[in-house]
Each structure stands twice: as structure tokens, then as C-alpha cells.
């Protein structure tokens, strides 16, 4: 334990160690030390460091590194998110884009309906949301979780009367992401084959297995953590130092003068002797301006 505490003593500022280091080492030799003395020495060193301007920026840097590590740790705890998409187009020879939009809307309403989503969550081949299904009803998993991760996003196609759109699914498992998009793409194809009404559906781009996650962007998390840690560290140190901004001056004055000062304080004009002396100094400052 003594060895640990002796190492912890090196955390004190260099100027403090120059003044007290030798006698502190002897003190550590003499005193019977306990395990919580280690925490006491670390705390004492941290306080000394915070009151030293020399180490002000060093502490801010340490806070920044701590912030970056914390944010990096949080980013690592967040699972990877893979995005898989497929691109399709609805069109009808001689038809308008408005008609294509209506057909797409009707098909999407059916495929991504409550029952449609439940069917996909229930499918053991897809194996979606196994953890969530252990403590939530399948309806809630489908409506509250699955629905937030699956999208049908229309996008403009160049000068075409048809309506192009993307099927998007976001998932921590890239294979499941691809399987779900493939399933929904097939469902659109079946739907348009069944109720074509002259509309045709073409796949512009099939679902490709995503090779890298899109989120979380860990370097961004770490950078924000570092900046936040630095700012928080500087702010905390500034507040800490501000609360200790008063310098302490010890004065010796004759007793009769002290009695006079006490009577002034007793008169209520000043809060205490320090307040009285401060006022005198301020008045002198004004006189010299």
C-alpha cells in the first residue's frame, strides 16, 4: 500500500513536491497507512493541481481525453447499424406520374400494414427482433419497433412518367437487413403482378448485402466527447478557481485601531473587518484615479 501511495504522491504539482516532497515522503514512512489513504492522497493531489495555473491546461487536456474515452466507450456500446436498400419503379405506358404514385401508395399500405409487418416478424427464417419478442407482444414489436426501421421512400426519376422509390431497412444484422428488403421487394412484385391495372413494376437495383455499417460514426462521437470534455473541464476549473479567487492577507494592527474597526462593523455599515479594509482600499484606488 505504501508503494501505491508513494506513486500517487507524484500526482502533486512539481512546485508543491519541491517544497513538501521530502517531508511528505518521511511522513509516509512514519505513519501507519490504510487503503483509503491512497484515495485521500489522490484527492489532495487533484485539489493542489486545480489550484495551480501551471497545470490548468494540462487538466483541461486530461478532461478532454476522459471525455473522448467516455464518448468512445458509449459509441462502442451502441450496436452497428446496417442500411440495405432496393430501388424500384412503377410505370404505365401512357399513364401519368400521379397514377403511378397512387398505385405505389396502395401497394405500400398493404405490404407495410399491421398484418404485413406482423407476418414478417413472425417468420422464423427472418429471425427479427428475437430479444424484444421475449418481453413484448408481437403487435408492439411490429408497430412500435419494426415500423420505425423500414421505409418506402419515393424519389424523382428523370423525365419519366412513372414513380421510382426505394425500400429501406435499418438493422444491426446486415444479413437480416438484406433479407427483409428482398422480402419486401418480392412482395411489391407480387402485388403489382396480381392487381396490375396496367401498371408495371421494375426492379432498378436489387438489395445488395451492405458491407459496412452506417452508424454509429465512432470518430465523430470521440471528437465530440473530447471537445465536450475539454469545455466541461475548463468550465469546472474556472468555477473552482473563481470560488477561491480571494487572496488572503494577514495584517497586524494595534488593538485600539482594531477596536475602532470593530465599532465600525458593529455599526452595520460593513459585514466584517475584511469588508472594511476592502472599502478603504477601493476608496484609495478612486482617490488615485
Amino acid at each position: 500500500m505504501k508503494r501505491w501511495i508513494r506513486w500517487a504522491a507524484w500526482l502533486y504539482p512539481a512546485e508543491w513536491r519541491m517544497r513538501y516532497g521530502a517531508e511528505f515522503d518521511v511522513f509516509l514512512d512514519d505513519a501507519p497507512l490504510r487503503w483509503y489513504d491512497l484515495a485521500d492522497v489522490i484527492r489532495g493531489a487533484a485539489i493542489m493541481q486545480m489550484t495551480s495555473w501551471m497545470t490548468y491546461w494540462k487538466m483541461a487536456l486530461l478532461a478532454g481525453i476522459a471525455g473522448a474515452l467516455l464518448a468512445g466507450g458509449i459509441a462502442l456500446a451502441i450496436p452497428d447499424q446496417y442500411v440495405c436498400t432496393s430501388a424500384l419503379i412503377v410505370e404505365k405506358p401512357g399513364g401519368t406520374q400521379r397514377q403511378a404514385q397512387r398505385a405505389l401508395y396502395a401497394a405500400a399500405q398493404k405490404i407495410l400494414s399491421r398484418d404485413g409487418l406482423i407476418e414478417m416478424v413472425r417468420d422464423p427464417n427472418l429471425g427479427l427482433y428475437r430479444k424484444e419478442l421475449q418481453h413484448l407482444p408481437i403487435e408492439n414489436v411490429a408497430q412500435d419497433i419494426f415500423r420505425k426501421h423500414v421505409y418506402v421512400v419515393p424519389y424523382p426519376s428523370s423525365g419519366d412518367p412513372g414513380q421510382a422509390f426505394r425500400v429501406v431497412f435499418v438493422c444491426p444484422d446486415r444479413y437480416k437487413a438484406q433479407a427483409v428488403v428482398a422480402r419486401i421487394t418480392e412482395a411489391f412484385q407480387r402485388e403489382f403482378a396480381r392487381t396490375s391495372d396496367g401498371q408495371t413494376l421494375s426492379v432498378l437495383e436489387g438489395p445488395i448485402l451492405p458491407d459496412r455499417p452506417t452508424a454509429p460514426v465512432r470518430p465523430v462521437y470521440a471528437t465530440f466527447g473530447a471537445i465536450g470534455g475539454c469545455l466541461l473541464g475548463l468550465l469546472s476549473l474556472a468555477i473552482f478557481r473563481r470560488t477561491r479567487a480571494y487572496a488572503v492577507v494577514t495584517m497586524s494592527i494595534p488593538k485600539d485601531i482594531k477596536q475602532f474597526v470593530d465599532s465600525q462593523v458593529a455599526g452595520g455599515q460593513y459585514r466584517n473587518v475584511s469588508d472594511y479594509v476592502r472599502e478603504l482600499i477601493r476608496a484609495d484606488e478612486q482617490r488615485h484615479k
Partner: protein, 95 residues
């Protein structure tokens, strides 16, 4: 009552002492064990304020002495504490 600066001043009011002697003395009269960081934090603050001063030492155990200003501050603190104790004692008396 457990303010380390107050306890260190109270210990030195009896006579000059080095760090470990102060620690033992404080534990004896106040029943409070000051850890190394707390004790030397108080010594540093008190010396900065001019309420104690380090003496020259033959070995590396530097003794400390309370200064006039330190004694004055301690007297003020004791008087203030005495008033609090007196008031509390009076209020604790059964009506």
C-alpha cells in the same frame, strides 16, 4: 469541529510539531484521523495564509509553528465555536 485547518492549528497551539506528530495528536484529542492528503493540504493552506510556518530541521521531519496571526485566528474560531456550544447547550436544557 472536523475542519482540518482548525485541528492543525489546535494541535500546534500546544507546541511545534512535524506532520506525523500532528496526525497522532489530532487523533488523540479529537478522535479524527487526518489522511496524508488532507493533513498536508491543510498545512499548505495554513502556511500560504501565514498562520503557521515551517522551521529549519536537522533531519527531513520539518516541524511547524503557529504564528501570531494563526493564534489570533484560532482564538476567534474557538470563541465563535464556544458561542455555538453555549447556545446549543442552553437550547438542549429541558424547558
Amino acid at each position: 469541529m472536523t475542519d482540518p485547518s482548525f485541528l492543525v492549528l489546535a494541535s500546534l497551539a500546544e507546541g511545534d510539531k512535524h506532520g506525523y506528530a500532528m496526525m497522532e495528536d489530532i487523533e488523540r484529542f479529537a478522535g479524527v484521523r487526518l489522511g496524508p492528503g488532507t493533513l498536508y493540504g491543510a498545512i499548505t493552506r495554513l502556511e500560504e495564509r501565514g498562520w503557521i510556518r515551517g522551521l529549519d530541521a536537522d533531519d527531513r521531519r520539518r516541524p511547524y509553528r503557529i504564528t501570531g496571526a494563526g493564534r489570533e485566528y484560532l482564538e476567534e474560531q474557538v470563541a465563535s465555536l464556544g458561542r455555538v456550544v453555549k447556545t446549543a447547550r442552553e437550547r438542549l436544557k429541558p424547558a
